[in-house]
């Protein structure tokens, strides 16, 4: 009785109706601001002056010729790349640990997930104290063990001034990023490990494959695409992050820990130059897009296999 069919029986129609509101909202709330960001980049808009006058590539040229921007751009890429090495290393170890059964697993998992679960800006308050110029508990431990203080191996001073010296501030920021992002990469890898069909692992066991052999020859190759996804996911997250440095250093000392997001905030909002702020953050876009496309291609190739 096709004439009596309810319109809701039409799969295509229902699908469109179901998808439309979400798509519409996202296009409005993301697509429109994104176009506006590009328009801002080509204009001379400021907080005070709301008119959009077309000024061509002037903002982009000014930004690119700015020595601070070059340094900021380079710092952002360096931080992102260096921290990924450690994140991937630790995430692999932790993913293998947490896909096994062991005593106290629930509690250990709770602890290991805390750095990721805590809102970033709040976790950074903890690290602000841990790395404090005068009261740092880390310095205290180093002092007690003879690494600091008079005749100390690291310094004669009682403190290392973690966030005040250029090298240590950079190391601190990278360390803290690794600390907070490792759980995310671990969870993605755990998803990969737990999706390996058990019959493959059973077969390996029947064939007498030992733990390390199974791990290196079966598990790791199988989760390689997921590893690429985890890597790109945390790269993109970190590339766009400004919270860590906002709370810890505000980009200091001098410009040593200033990253792209923070710089765009400082120029665009704090400095009131919306146009140049938008231009600064737009420089990140080609890189982010390249990473995202690479990630999707890896994912779809993994599905075909």
């Amino acid at each position: 009785m096709p004439s009596l069919r309810h319109p809701f029986d039409n799969q295509r129609l229902v699908g469109t109706l179901f998808l439309a509101p979400a798509l519409l909202y996202i296009v409005l709330i993301v697509g429109f601001p994104f176009l506006l960001a590009i328009a801002f980049g080509f204009s001379d808009v400021t907080v005070g002056n709301t008119e959009l006058n077309f000024v061509g590539l002037r903002n982009f040229e000014a930004v690119w010729d700015n020595a601070i921007f070059r340094q900021v751009f380079e710092t952002t890429i360096r931080f992102t790349l260096i921290s990924q090495v450690f994140i991937l290393l630790f995430a692999n170890i932790l993913a293998i640990i947490f896909t096994q059964d062991f005593t106290g697993k629930w509690f250990a998992r709770f602890i290991f997930i805390l750095p990721w679960a805590t809102p970033v800006s709040l976790a950074m308050i903890g690290w602000l104290w841990m790395l404090d110029t005068k009261y740092s508990p880390i310095d205290y431990l180093l002092l007690q063990t003879g690494f600091l203080g008079r005749g100390g191996i690291l310094s004669d001073d009682r403190n290392l001034f973690w966030l005040a010296s250029p090298d240590l501030a950079q190391i601190s920021v990278i360390f803290v990023q690794v600390w907070r992002m490792t759980p995310l990469a671990t969870v993605i890898l755990m998803a990969g490990l737990s999706s390996i069909p058990t019959d493959i692992l059973d077969q390996a066991e029947v064939d007498g494959s030992r733990f390390m052999r199974t791990l290196l020859l079966i598990k790791l190759p199988l989760i390689l695409p997921i590893m690429v996804i985890a890597l790109l996911f945390s790269m993109i997250t970190m590339f766009g992050d400004m919270t860590v440095v906002y709370v810890l250093t505000r980009g200091g000392p001098v410009d040593y820990t200033r990253v792209l997001g923070l710089y765009s905030f400082q120029v665009g909002i704090e400095g009131g130059n919306l146009a140049q702020g938008a231009a600064i953050s737009l420089f990140a876009f080609p890189l982010l897009l390249a990473m995202a496309i690479f990630m999707l291609r890896t994912a779809s190739r993994a599905e075909v296999r």
């Binding site: 469109t16 997930i113 805590t118």
Partner: protein, 317 residues
């Protein structure tokens, strides 16, 4: 206060005793089960490096939180005079917790965060429940493309959009109001929860829906009566993670809202509880810890379901 004070002053000893107790009772349990044989001994020996690795990672993960916990109860004298961060030389105090709740805008921050979080969760569910179902079951090729688009949108960092969004918020007259966050946060929560929900919907056996269709339900009815109830655990975990995403967000909250009483937790605590160069360290650390613990527990509780949704979402339907 008596018990708490005793726990705090003997914190490290208690920690060691607790760890030793767990390890001891576990070994005792194995010995009772398998006997104190040589094999058993070598098993424990072989297994211990594994636990050492776990303990090391745990130590690094929890170190700042342990410090937060201990410092919450330190008096100013104990904290600032001759630093000795790990033990109490003066009687622990709860005066800083008292100050945090009574003399600062902390409760306002909590209220704002909850209001924003709940409103965003509702908007997100209304938009993404049907959309995710459409992606999982109803639309073919173009639905898949829409799904990829959503995923790409989720990857767009707020640092790319906050400047034009700020302008839009000002134009809409929403500046300094939590409403601005309620409008903008779905830009990342909707793609996120669509991705997750799609995975949970795919896990529902299609035969059940077909049975419902045969029984005379239409597609919408089958979705409401069969798919939604069966995916309830997944939906709950989506709610939890969506809510925590809104708790985490920092940049939009920082840029859109400038007055103290309207700020959310993630922005209010690090900006408003610090007066210029004056840090009220104990309330600050306490404020962070009080949020960290419940969110951490929620994550741990729903982690398996997150992993499941993530895996299923990546599988072609």
């Amino acid at each position: 206060m008596g018990v708490l004070s005793w726990i705090l002053t003997n914190f490290w000893a208690l920690l060691v005793v607790a760890l030793a107790g767990v390890v001891g009772s576990r070994i005792a349990w194995r010995v009772r089960k398998y006997g104190a044989t040589r094999e058993e001994f070598s098993y424990v020996l072989r297994r211990s490096p594994f636990y050492l690795v776990v303990l090391t990672f745990c130590f690094f993960a929890i170190a700042p939180f342990l410090i937060m916990f201990l410092h919450t109860f330190k008096t100013d004298g104990d904290l600032y005079r001759r630093p000795q961060p790990f033990v109490f030389r003066q009687e622990p105090t709860i005066e800083h917790l008292d100050a945090l709740f009574n003399n600062t805008a902390y409760l306002d921050f909590i209220r704002n965060s909850i209001v924003v979080g709940v409103a965003v969760v509702i908007i997100t569910l209304v938009l993404s429940l049907p959309a995710a179902y459409a992606l999982a079951r109803l639309t073919g090729r173009w639905g898949e493309r829409a799904g990829i688009l959503m995923f790409l949108v989720y990857l767009v960092p707020p640092t790319l959009l906050f400047i034009p969004m700020f302008r839009i918020v000002v134009l809409l007259g929403l500046k300094d109001s939590p409403m601005s966050l309620i409008v903008v946060y779905p830009s990342f929560t909707v793609p996120f929860s669509m991705w997750l929900l799609q995975g949970f919907f795919k896990a529902v056996p299609p035969e059940l829906e077909e049975a419902a269709l045969v029984d005379g339900y239409n597609r919408v009815g089958a979705f409401l009566r069969v798919v939604l109830p069966l995916s309830l655990p997944g939906i709950i975990s989506t709610v939890v993670f969506t809510f925590t995403l809104t708790l985490h967000e920092f940049i939009y909250g920082l840029v859109f809202i400038a007055n103290t009483s309207q700020r959310t937790l993630s922005v209010g605590v690090p900006t408003e509880l610090i007066l210029g160069d004056v840090y009220f360290w104990q309330p600050l650390l306490a404020a962070a810890l009080i949020i960290a613990i419940p969110v951490g527990l929620a994550y741990n509780l729903f982690l398996d379901s997150l992993v499941q949704g993530f895996t299923m979402g990546a599988v072609k339907g």
